[in-house]
Symmetry: C3
């Protein structure tokens, strides 16, 4: 990790000093290449990042690649069944090693001069080099990994932050979903014309849902807030929650978010980057599908379709909405000051057979539409904040408390030594 | 308006000090991002800019949008029939409000969270915000506007420069053309691969016309200058002028440019950014059409096709050539250090019916060809001035006096506090 | 030539101080815009650059254009049959003069205002300019040229480095190939997504050949090095060399590279930028064609197909592989910090008739495949060196001695005052 240069740090500090509580961020935070460089350094190269799903790496040698800005990474399952990750860059002259998005390798062989690395990253052979080369010093640069309930995380920092508290909360919540026994039913890759923080600003409120997400609001309660959750809405949610609780208790599931409005996240006071909760869907909906009906076989340990919706999230790059029958993960990666790459992945039970047990065209629309609606809003926000007359505006205390929480969490990361 | 930072000002001053009278500008002025930023600040965000035509905004709520670099603007007709303009950016989190090039709105509703603004820019509702929000402080940022003889101008500065002297000159000249009673017959949008000042360098001389504009030179006298306006040319122009004057006096039109060569403009000594004149066309030509014949119904108050050509221009972004039967406006907008967006608009009488009274294919070629010939020259100039061996060369005192005038006017704007 | 500013020089010096002997260069050298600017200044605007072939400029007025980054150049044959080159930029307002890649001109006429230059670069007329203009001061900026054995070189420096030592070595070697009596059979233009130095790193070793160049390694010995040239390989090469030597002596050709491995080049100790050698092909191969057979009429003075392979190279932008029947030249030009433009040209005897004497589809594959294989490796290297964890790795003393030689030669150029 390269700490920020003193000059850059001063410039960033001056920008931070101009931020106002409960207001959107000033333009530089969404557009400036130096702020983006600081984001890479302070957020993206220090945090735990969601990389992919365990079910993408089944056999030893199965790998996926991803890029955090210009840092290419390869994540693979090693001979002991553990997930490992490395900088996907040859230690000889720096060539990219694995050039495909995914595949299976025996050893990792550089296409340029065939330097060959084991699945543990060790340099095994470099034919043509002088014998005095110390191969033990030329292994691939390792990247920290964690595997949890079917989700794979990586961290580029030398000293990664704690992961175990996240596991303590998330693993028991995620376990019944059985994502480690899932398979990937569909993937959609998107290039969002917006800074990654605008994508989180969008994700962290449902203030925009009523008009922009006609599909989403039919299934959920979280677009209602203190200001507009009528008595009737509250009663409906309480009834759905009560009914669910009684039923779920039997199979060890708990309702952990009982109010309208989104669960609070992230938590800047605790510097907490992870969250998970289970909550009720609207009566009559058992899945985030277009009509609320089950569209694939039950996943994991679920005895019944009525399990509400499981939500998982980790800043800076992951959220997941899981229903009884499918799970949808969104992974963000930074691609420039005004560009974010999103990959949306739909998972179903590993044994489900396409065409027989589920149809991709039933599975996709709910989150494909919702995602694409959001990416367009993010791009419209990006265009606007570039204006010389853009001024940070006030956030709704009813509806954008999580946008404010994200802002504070972000500024806390920026300020870290 | 953000005044230039001291460092930037010093750098610009050093560049200005290297400019030579009666020579083209040094490379930095056509390529450097910092000079471009200064141009935005000193020219584009201070000057009156042509935005569009009155006939594009007929009903209350009719609007057009345009962008001055990253500043998106919306120009609309309000409930009192006045033209108003605003920064097209929501005061909440900065989202672009009107995303279409033109349309009609009741109120301006942000697509993101439906903050709703009146046609006067006032924030009328922001459902979901806490009651203590002071809506009166959250109206759209206004932009100054002026409407004159069917032309709409805007100014992004807090304190716009005087407009009334321009009106005093231009309005009486433009009035008989009747552009406020016109309709748009055709629009062509161009991306010119050149700095906006190269486009003016091109516009401000007809030294390049003989070879490059075979259509234009048939109709006009202004490509002849003191060095090559033969006795015969001078006599022809004098005859055309005399004939016109006699005839035009009856209907209140005057010949205001009687010499060969282009009318002097801009005027750096008076810091004058506007100009208008009427001059004779070549004998046998009553319209800037390919064959000089009338190609659409008479516009405005013209009793007769023989009214010569009306010219209007304002730096930094507008020129108009009007004939008896149609008017052609060119609007420039800056799109980067080496990129200028041009919109060319053809107007005819509001009552003219396409197919019956005029054909677009007759109307377009004269100025479509002439414009595209110019854009190609501008792009060739841009490529050349990027060379490390480009040196500003001498301007022709016969033919490029207006290029020199533009250069001086521009440097005067750059130097303003 | 603009010497580097003191600040830039200091920054470059700090970067150079971090370079390690016998290791690839740090990231900044392959990516940083300031290093690229220094490369243009210290290497590209000071060195002799291969521009094209004599046979492209047969008649007086024949010209080609090329661009060294933003510097457009025109190279032509003048009325005395000499090759001349000029900055392809009008001395008036900087417009590009010759806009085609090649053509023939009587005089060079600027498309903008028809300033007209002779084939010697002198400004002959500038109709429309005031008489006091001193035309003698407004000729095209000349560029130094040399013609040698059918190859044309240019140098943008005011004071070019010595060329005659290069001629002394190269001309006698190249002469028998008869490239001045050749014609161009095919040209392929490539945009390589890599810094120009990565292209040389690739060119200066055959460590990557075994796996990546299946065509190339069948014909040649130079992918074998001290570490892997078995006794059998050495015997085969010695036999081929001995056989060739005996035969070639009769026609005045000499084997000048007798070992496996690539000829040493460049030579940083002597600051030597040119090299030429003739070496044996594998037994049974008389041409670098897919099957080793002759595919076009003999070129130049060759009495027989068995003439091995002639190699010519000059840093920073040229290499040539010539067989008995055809010659292939590669010209590099810088197009940005991470972008290099390559033009590969195939030459055959001037009298050879396509379809009758040779087929383009036989001529192209060997070097088209080999080139495209290389460009892809260069792009993979570029992607990798951008990683924040890329570290310069060790070079093979057996196989990458020329990569190291190039690195030293390059750093020597950067350090020049």
């Amino acid at each position: 990790m390269t700490p920020l240069a003193a000059d850059d740090r001063h410039r960033i500090e001056a920008l931070v000093a101009n931020c106002r509580d409960n207001h959107s961020l000033p333009r530089a935070f969404y557009a400036d290449p130096q702020v983006y460089a600081a984001d890479l350094e302070q957020v993206w190269r220090r945090s735990w990042l969601f990389a992919g799903h365990s079910c993408q790496l089944i056999q030893p040698g199965d790998y996926i690649t991803l890029s955090v800005d210009a840092d290419s990474l390869v994540v693979l399952r090693d001979d002991n069944g553990e997930v490992r990750a490395f900088h996907n860059v040859c230690r000889h002259r720096g060539t990219i090693l694995c050039t495909e998005p995914a595949g299976r390798v025996g050893r990792i062989v550089c296409p340029y001069h065939q330097w060959t690395y084991g699945r543990d990253g060790a340099l095994m052979s470099c034919r043509g080099m002088q014998p005095e080369i110390d191969k033990s010093q030329l292994g691939l640069f390792p990247v920290h990994t964690r595997e949890m309930a079917g989700l794979i995380y990586i961290c580029l920092a030398d000293e990664p932050p704690d992961f175990e508290r996240a596991r303590t909360l998330m693993e028991p919540m995620a376990k019944p979903q059985g994502m480690e026994r899932a398979k990937i039913a569909a993937v959609r890759d998107y290039e969002i014309n917006a800074n990654w923080k605008l994508v989180w600003d969008n994700n962290r409120e449902c203030y925009h849902c009523n008009v922009n997400h006609p599909q989403y609001i039919q299934a959920n309660f979280d677009h209602y807030n203190a200001d507009d959750a009528t008595e009737r809405v509250r009663e409906k949610m309480a009834a759905a929650t009560a009914r669910s609780e009684a039923k779920w208790a039997a199979c060890g599931l708990a309702v952990t978010h009982r109010q309208t409005g989104m669960a609070s996240f992230p938590d800047p006071d605790q510097d907490c980057w992870y969250s998970a909760n289970r909550t009720a869907l609207v009566d009559g909906w058992v899945s985030e599908s277009l009509d609320g009906r089950q569209i694939a076989p039950l996943m994991g340990d679920y005895p019944d379709a009525d399990v509400g919706t499981l939500r998982l999230r980790t800043v800076p790059n992951f959220w997941n909405h899981s229903s009884c029958d499918h799970a949808v993960s969104t992974r963000l990666l930074p691609g420039g000051p005004q560009r974010t790459l999103a990959q949306v992945t739909w998972l179903v039970h590993a044994d489900a057979v396409e065409g027989r047990d589920y149809k991709v065209e039933d599975l996709l629309p709910f989150w494909q539409l919702t995602s694409e609606q959001d990416w367009e809003l993010c791009a419209a926000a990006q265009r606007g904040v570039l204006s010389s007359r853009y001024e940070p505006g006030p956030l709704s205390t009813y509806k954008e408390y999580n946008v404010e929480a994200f802002r504070k969490w972000y500024l806390m990361q920026l300020g870290k030594q």
